[in-house]
């Protein structure tokens, strides 16, 4: 079989490209859900942990307890492989769920949250302590100072690192194939099993991931430029 015939068989024959496109749809859906979960969890965890670490004289026992639990969360999630977490979620915790895509998205989101929290925490801690002091001395309370002064500066600093994490997240969606999630890699494997040809389905899928990541990078770059508009450097 010639190369063009192989490509035809892997992509065009029997409208197989539709399968890839459906895979892209699932991949994007999972990425968006996981991203949202990751950002929410990550921000909350980072804010609580920063608040705990930055308190001065009297220590808040409630904050200490929550901080301790969140530390366990970050340790466990960062300390176990993504694949193992996915299998545990699909076969133990949500053993009776049929929505493999959603279980996958949830797992990826929880996983991403741990990494995002550390990135954001790093950003918050990096903002000079004088900024907080200045805000407080101008009469803003802790929350307002965080919201209007600290967080905007932190976001700009952590954006490249966050972009990295999101790209990893997008590519990790391919793992949900192994719990039955029908995303891009699943489509390629299905076609490989019918044609017994591995090259084109895999190259096509690799190309599609690459395009998705490039679009993603471009969007992030635009966002970064937007935030830099008022910079004087």
């Amino acid at each position: 079989m010639s190369v063009s015939e192989k490509f035809y068989q892997a992509f065009l024959y029997n409208d197989r490209w539709v399968q890839y496109l459906r895979g892209v749809g699932t991949t994007l859906l999972v990425t968006v859900i996981a991203l949202a979960i990751g950002i929410v969890i990550g921000t909350v965890v980072a804010l609580v942990r920063t608040a705990h670490d930055q308190q001065r004289e009297k220590r808040n026992p409630l904050l200490a307890a929550v901080n301790f639990i969140l530390q366990i969360y970050v340790t466990v999630i960062r300390g176990t492989p993504m694949m193992v977490q996915l299998l545990i979620m699909a076969m133990v915790i949500f053993a009776s769920s049929r929505n493999f895509t959603l279980v996958g998205a949830l797992t990826l989101g929880i996983n991403s949250g741990a990494y995002v929290s550390e990135i954001i925490r790093g950003g918050l801690m990096a903002v000079d302590s004088g900024q907080m002091e200045a805000g407080r001395s101008l009469g803003l309370n802790y929350i307002s100072t965080m919201r209007f002064i600290i967080i905007p500066q932190a976001i700009k600093a952590v954006l490249p690192a966050l972009g990295n994490e999101f790209i990893i997240l997008l590519k990790d969606t391919s793992l949900i194939t192994f719990i039955g999630g029908k995303e891009l890699l699943y489509a390629a494997q299905g076609i490989m099993n019918r044609t017994y040809e591995a090259m084109f389905p895999l190259l096509i899928v690799a190309g599609m991931y690459l395009i998705l990541v490039m679009i993603f990078t471009w969007l992030l770059g635009r966002f970064e430029r937007k935030l830099r508009e008022s910079d004087r450097r």
Partner: protein, 267 residues
């Protein structure tokens, strides 16, 4: 402009890589046929060894033992064939779809994993004579509302990726109703969990899965009986003839039958 060049360069790299893989596989087959002219009539991937790729989660044809070694009908038949050919049997365990690809790409000499002979597979690999048969059956939980193949529509069907059952079901009931698992054991776990409604898989492993998991039952289907055979690389006629000769001898002297009887108790 710079971006355009970058994209073009990336494209060139992909093509170069593709060309590489094509060239390498061409070279591989040459290398493996060259020594064939010397002493034996056939060459193997590893000299002195018969390399068999399989998916050892397909009882009673192949399964792992607690010490990590393999047993089963295919394993014993392959062992007997290797002995006939004066080779040592080496087993590579992997996913079923990967096991089929391994023999096509010259990474293994034979694939034995309860492989059904069909026309699509004949296009990409050669097959020995058949040594056993199987049929696709349905596993359901007891008390399921599925009573025959006709009831499958609208239910979530579990299958093993790359098997004939997987292909039949996606053709007949649509990709969206079929879930492909890496092996039958994982599919059975999902069925026990209630994540899928039934499994379509070969009869012999189905019997093993049902035996191991109380509360499951087997339904017959009207799918045609399938011939299991040993898959070999396309055009590897020397090895195919040698394997066939050994297989025929083993069938004639009753070895194959006794191995099958050992694992599948006649009812």
């Amino acid at each position: 402009m710079k971006k355009l060049i970058t994209i073009l360069l990336a494209g060139c790299m992909v093509l170069a890589l593709a060309a590489c893989s094509g060239g390498a596989s061409g070279g591989g087959t040459q290398a493996s046929t060259a020594p064939a002219a010397e002493t034996p009539a056939f060459a193997t991937v590893n000299a002195g060894k018969l390399t068999m790729s399989t998916n050892a989660a397909f009882p009673p044809y192949e399964m792992t033992k607690d010490d990590g070694s393999f047993e089963g009908i295919d394993v014993e038949i392959a062992g007997a064939i290797a002995k006939e050919l004066g080779l040592e049997l080496q087993i590579d365990d992997m996913d079923f779809d990967a096991a089929l690809l391994a023999v096509q790409q010259g990474k293994s000499d034979i694939v034995m994993a309860g492989v059904t002979v069909n026309d699509e597979r004949k296009q990409v690999m050669d097959f020995s004579d058949s040594y056993s048969t199987g049929v696709q059956v349905i596993i359901v939980p007891e008390g399921s509302d599925i009573a025959s193949v006709d009831d499958l529509a609208g239910h979530t069907i579990g299958t093993q990726r790359g098997t004939t059952g997987n292909i039949y079901c996606t053709d007949e009931f649509g990709e969206e109703n079929v879930v492909a698992y890496d092996n039958g054991l994982t599919a059975t776990q999902a069925l026990v969990n209630g994540q899928i409604d039934c499994i379509v898989i070969d009869s012999a492993p189905a019997a093993e899965f049902v035996k191991a998991n109380p509360g499951l039952a087997i339904l017959d289907t009207e799918y045609a009986t399938e011939d299991y055979a040993i898959g070999l690389g396309k055009g590897n006629t020397e090895l195919k003839d040698a394997v066939n000769a050994a297989l025929q001898k083993l069938i004639a002297d009753g070895t194959v039958q006794s191995i099958v009887d050992k694992y599948i108790k006649a009812e």
